[in-house]
Amino acid sequence: MAVISIERMGLLSVFCVCLFFSSAFAVDRGNFKTCDQSSFCKRQRALKPGQSPYRALLETLELSDSRLTLQLINDNNKVHLLLELYRLQGNMTRVKINELKPLKPRFEVPDVLIAEPPTEPLSVLSKDDNGIVLSLGAESQRLIVSARPFRLDIMEGPEVLLSLNSRGLLAFEHLHLRKDTQAQPDGAEVKESVDGDQQQDEVEKDEDGEGDKEQDGLWEETFKSHTDTKPNGPTSISLDFSLPGVEHVYGIPEHADDLKLKTTDGGDPYRLYNLDVFQYELYNPMALYGSIPVMLAHNTQRTMGIFWLNAAETWVDISSNTAGKTVFGKMLDFVQGSSEKPQTDIRWISESGIIDVFIMLGPKPSDVFSQYASLTGTQSFPPLASLGYHQCRWNYNDQEDVKSVDQGFDQHDIPYDFIWLDIEHADGKRYFTWDPHKFSQPKEMLQGLMDKRRKMVAIVDPHIKVDSGYKIHSEITSKDFYVKNKDGRNYEGWCWPGNSGYPDFTIPEMRAWWASMFAYDQYEGSMENLFTWNDMNEPSVFNGPEVTMHKDALHGKWEHREIHNIYGLYVQMATAEGQIQRSGGVERPFVLTRAFFAGSQRFGAVWTGDNAAEWGHLKISIPMCLSLGLVGVSFCGADIGGFFKNPSTELLVRWYQTGAYQPFFRAHAHLDTTRREPWLFGPENTALIREVIRQRYALLPYWYQLFFQAYRTGMPVMRPLWVDYPKDTVTFTIDDEFLIGSDLLVHPITEEGSRGVTAYLPGAGEVWYDVHTFQKHNGAQNLYIPVTLSSIPVFQRGGSIIPRKDRVRRSSACMENDPYTLYVALSPKKFARGKLYIDDGHSFNYDTKKEFIHRSLTFANNALTSSNLCPDCNFLTSSWIEKVLILGASKPSKVVLKMDGKETPVDFEFDSSMSVLTLRKPGMNAGDDWTLLLQ
């Protein structure tokens, strides 16, 4: 509080105060900028809503088939902007705003969109002096361009769905030459601040003295002894969005915060700037390792999305007219018929680049997911094994250590698929190499794992040790692939290996070269069961500003400032490409990344970075992964056990139970922690951990099918309840439980010493079955569940069919040909539906040769039928159906299998206490057409 009030006193004093405070009580926070310490954020935020200086010049309108252009003018400085409007296929609108004639080109983010989005025709419905009305396709959707001040409204029928610049916060700092280095240009050109009229007075004052200018950070700014030279001066952009009728907004990861975004009035905006944050704090809007500038807005009627395509440092302000109101206040409004509609206002602020916004109009949640997927792609379809359990530690010390941990899993009969090596495996942190003493025979080690049908991940970070004897460094140097500093020399920073260079992953040739380094003959000691982990790719620079790269470093002609948030995406992209290429394009890659951006979902998995062994961090893993899932990244997980510090045994067990039901399932630990392999906490806890890992493996067919669906449609794998129950307002703020697909509801235990939890089971008129006991519960209720240390509350939705492989073995590969058990959970109307997906689990043949089995399983009218969803697919499996459990069934007199025109009786058992019908060994191949009749 003290800091905030003092901040108003002026920038200089803020610096002093913050430095003082930071060293006094929050060292980690002090390393990172607040909005006030980021000059463009401070300038932009100082703008108040009101009369916008921007006016649309309607006479400049040009309309081609699918593109509308129009000039905007800032009446204060007469700078012209160019507005482009596109109607995109799939109910989206793209709004681009750039300078009409910029001094030099402004940066537009490449490589995020999978293609130039296909457009649909736009037509002008009416036009007058005040504006234009455009038709947005077939629906009753219209786009209204208001001229003075400039404003856009998207309407459906009489309803305003969304407005742009309705609060007049559009601000575009146009490129111009620095005044003191240039002969006096014409009056309009000199304004060196946000082009809003409110700022004008201050701007004029600023121009009076050089000193003030420096303080304002227009042409230079300093943070904690790091100076950003800003040769292009101020270049920031901002735009506001109003969402009438919306009270719930989500997304814009990565933040360690609740699922439902909070209003930012009185605090800092949510920040998007990929940073290596040491021991991050919970429940605040500080930036973390990754950034996805996508926000979802949801109410009972509609779900929409805003995708702000900009890779520079970005801040997002959220305010709401109902945020301050109590429930009673809202009720009073209702009773009194208050005319005020709830509304959420958003404001995006970025340091540079252009305004390029995609408005995804839904209306259903699944529509928004597919709309976003059509722009940036879907989750890569991972190898099946990567959905198993991953055992990681910084560090497994040597080959002997790896071997004994591997044996430990077999001794304790715990399945796992991947063992991981952190930075110590390499020779002096020279990635792509092996420590000659500790890992002298990497192929022998990998072969040992392969013999057990298991795999390994070794870390490859993007900082390269400056060492002329190191092949990677000398090749990058000779190819001139390093990022440059502002003076054009190779940028060097401090990281794990000491002095390091940073390859310029924005260069396509650099990425191609990097990819080629994963070839088996280049990456010595690598084999086909070795995969990769990209850490520190924010990029992390220990001695850089905010532990990252200087913004005035250069990627070709572009400053790092422009591309910062996409650097990590490029690293993972190039690495994944390398893994694909090494197999001749046959095998799927698996690459984990810490930094990410919009589109990163196409390249692999992400994790939530360096968390801590605290209950709060276990709890936050749920909203953090849910937020990522909403914006395309389904393959998300948190370090099980917590990275820093030692977890209590209870916390570790609870974390395994939670992690087993999150998409990316990996235990990891800091170098300084004590060992925590699953069997080190006594036989009882070993048994608890074994049990939950086994539950994970039994459910792999379901996870795999969900990832196939995510890959196909963009539907998140792990999702908030509201995605499937969009009209149930109770679900809108729930983030202590979640759905896996539509059919499993998980309420992990995240409180110490918990003896019971209350889970919300959604869906009026629906039922849920406890997956452990088959006890049936009604939907639309808060269910109190007493728990012990062995409990992990999981429910299967009545109306669903989940295929499982209940013969859990030591790795997923070992289970390849095992039979399935179908868990058919009947709805109150005795109906159920599910899917089964099978392929080879590791190659691209599902895509290139259609080698997969995709089946629809339906239970209706007392018959369970398997039918082919992909008749032109071909894949043969030796897996068969060993058992069918029908939950909520009544006892039949006879069960018959109909197949190939023949009928054979099937043995069954009926448990009347739980109404569970078990069909014994029906035995059909999992790829066949068949029907099981209950008579």
């Binding site: 922690t673 013969r807 070992c814």
Partner: protein
């Protein structure tokens, strides 16, 4: 049962010369064959239900205990038996049947997975026999060495014990002198009395600890005396020879009475002897003292030293041996360091006075049931790795020094024996080494295995700042089992 079974199969092997497969369902050990009678309904081994025999090994799990599927992977909790003729039979979890990985050396677990397994039982058997033989040799030689160690330790201890007695005699004289001086001093230094009282308590505690230690030593002695057959256990009959322990003083010490003293156990080892000792120590007469009718221990020192910092060292006389019981001094927190310093001084002094070979502090260590670890005391053993030189000085400390210069790091000082319950002397724990940055103090676990040589064979750091050392010594070699009982060439049919 198992022994008999092994024996029987052995007989078969010898008499028939060629292995014969006895028909039984796949994965069932011979011992359980009777439960799987063909063409009769099968009852799950837990008795939970009975199923037709054709449901045994039909790749569907009917029994909760998994017993109907001994040869398939159908049951989550089942187990598969491989005969492994030529090697040793074993059970593997059912989940490893046909998983593409060869687990049984006779390849029987992979009958339908396409995995190309080779029968390696013969080689494994040979290898194992080789290893066992070598181990047996090592154990045998090691055990002989151990006997020597025990002998030496015993001699050394007796020698020391003698010296202790001498010193105690000296001490007694010294005490008398001190007593005389004290009387003089007391009258002269009345005002200091209060200050002295502060020390009194600490001194009392020290004494109590000394007494405890002596009691322990006495107990150990008594144990050795009682253990007539030196098997490491005191049995009822051994104790019965001490008639003075008769609880009801009726002149006869009955077996029941002895059992009562021993808490119902037929025999006790060193660790459990402690409780017996509390029952008998008041009455127990040492055989030595009985025979030689020597007086009891010299009376404990009654007078606190004048100044704690200068504990009764007189240039002309021998110091108190008790001062070497350094562990107990930690109770005095204020002067801890000084104490150690003084303790060291005293030790140096003693060494000078008595010759380097004698160090009395070792009397306070637990050198094993037969003092077989005594020889390790004041020795150090090194292991050089690629980066460091590790140094283990048993009962003292473990340290690590960079190979190419740099200062030494303390990886822990002697803590305790911390092996498993049945033999704590298999693991040593060294604790409170140099603190780690942002981490715990370094500590080292030393695992002892039987070997002819006394060597550090490996070191590792499984967790940050928690070291693991492997150490071989003859002192942990167990009496070799009869060689005839070793598995050699038996083959299950």
């Amino acid at each position: 049962m198992t022994c008999l079974h092994l024996l029987l199969t052995l007989v078969f092997a010898v008499s028939l010369g060629t292995p014969v497969e006895i028909q039984r369902p796949r994965g069932v050990p011979l011992t359980k064959k009777p439960f799987y009678e063909e063409n009769k309904p099968f009852t799950c081994l837990d008795g939970s239900r009975t199923i037709p025999f054709d449901r045994v090994n039909d790749d569907y799990c009917d029994c909760k205990d998994g017993s109907d599927e001994p040869g398939t992977a159908a049951c989550p909790n089942g187990s598969f038996h491989c005969t492994n003729a030529g090697y040793r039979p074993m059970f593997i979890p059912s989940s490893r049947i046909n998983d593409g990985i060869c687990d049984c050396c006779d390849t029987t677990d992979e009958y339908n997975s396409g995995a190309k397994c080779e029968n390696t039982c013969k080689e494994l058997g040979l290898k194992e026999r080789d290893v066992l033989q070598k181990m047996a040799e090592i154990t045998k030689e090691g055990f002989l060495l151990k006997q020597q160690l025990i002998e030496e330790a015993k001699k050394g201890r007796e020698e020391k014990q003698g010296k202790v007695t001498d010193m105690q005699e000296n001490k007694k004289q010294l005490e008398e002198k001190v007593e005389a001086l004290r009387t003089v001093k007391e009258t002269a230094e009345q005002p200091e009395k209060e200050a002295k009282e502060r020390h009194l308590k600490a001194w009392e505690e020290q004494k109590a600890a000394i007494r405890l230690e002596k009691d322990k030593a006495k107990m150990a002695e008594a144990f050795l005396e009682l253990d007539d057959n030196a098997d490491g256990f005191v049995s009822v009959s051994e104790l019965q020879s001490h008639a003075e322990l008769d609880p009801d003083a009726d002149g006869t010490l009955t077996e029941t009475e002895v059992q009562g003293l021993m808490g119902g156990a037929a025999q006790v080892d060193t660790s459990t002897f402690e409780s017996v000792w509390t029952n008998i120590k008041d009455k127990y007469h040492s055989e030595v003292s009985r025979e030689e009718s020597q007086p009891e221990e010299p009376a404990p020192v009654e007078t606190p030293p004048e100044e704690v910092k200068e504990p009764v060292v007189d240039n002309d006389s021998e110091p108190f041996p008790e001062d070497d019981i350094s562990e107990e001094e930690d109770e005095d927190e204020d002067d801890e360091d000084d104490y150690h310093e003084d303790d060291d001084k005293v030790r140096v002094y003693i060494t000078q006075k008595t010759g380097a070979s004698i160090n009395f502090s070792d009397l306070s260590f637990d050198f094993g049931p037969d003092a077989e670890f005594t020889y390790l005391y004041s020795q150090c053993y090194e292991l050089t790795t690629s980066e460091y030189i590790y140094r283990l000085c048993p009962f003292n400390r473990v340290s690590q020094k960079p190979k190419y210069g740099g200062s030494e790091t303390n990886l822990g000082t002697w803590g305790s024996w911390s092996g498993p319950e049945n033999n704590k002397y298999l693991v040593m724990k060294y604790e409170h080494g140099t603190g780690c940055w942002q981490g715990p103090n370094r500590s080292t676990t030393v695992k002892l295995t039987c070997g002819k040589e006394t060597v550090v064979t490996s070191t590792s750091e499984p967790s940050r700042c928690e070291y693991l050392m492997e150490f071989t010594t003859p002192a942990v070699c167990q009496e070799p089992a009869n060689m005839d009982l070793l598995p050699h060439g038996h083959e299950e049919l």
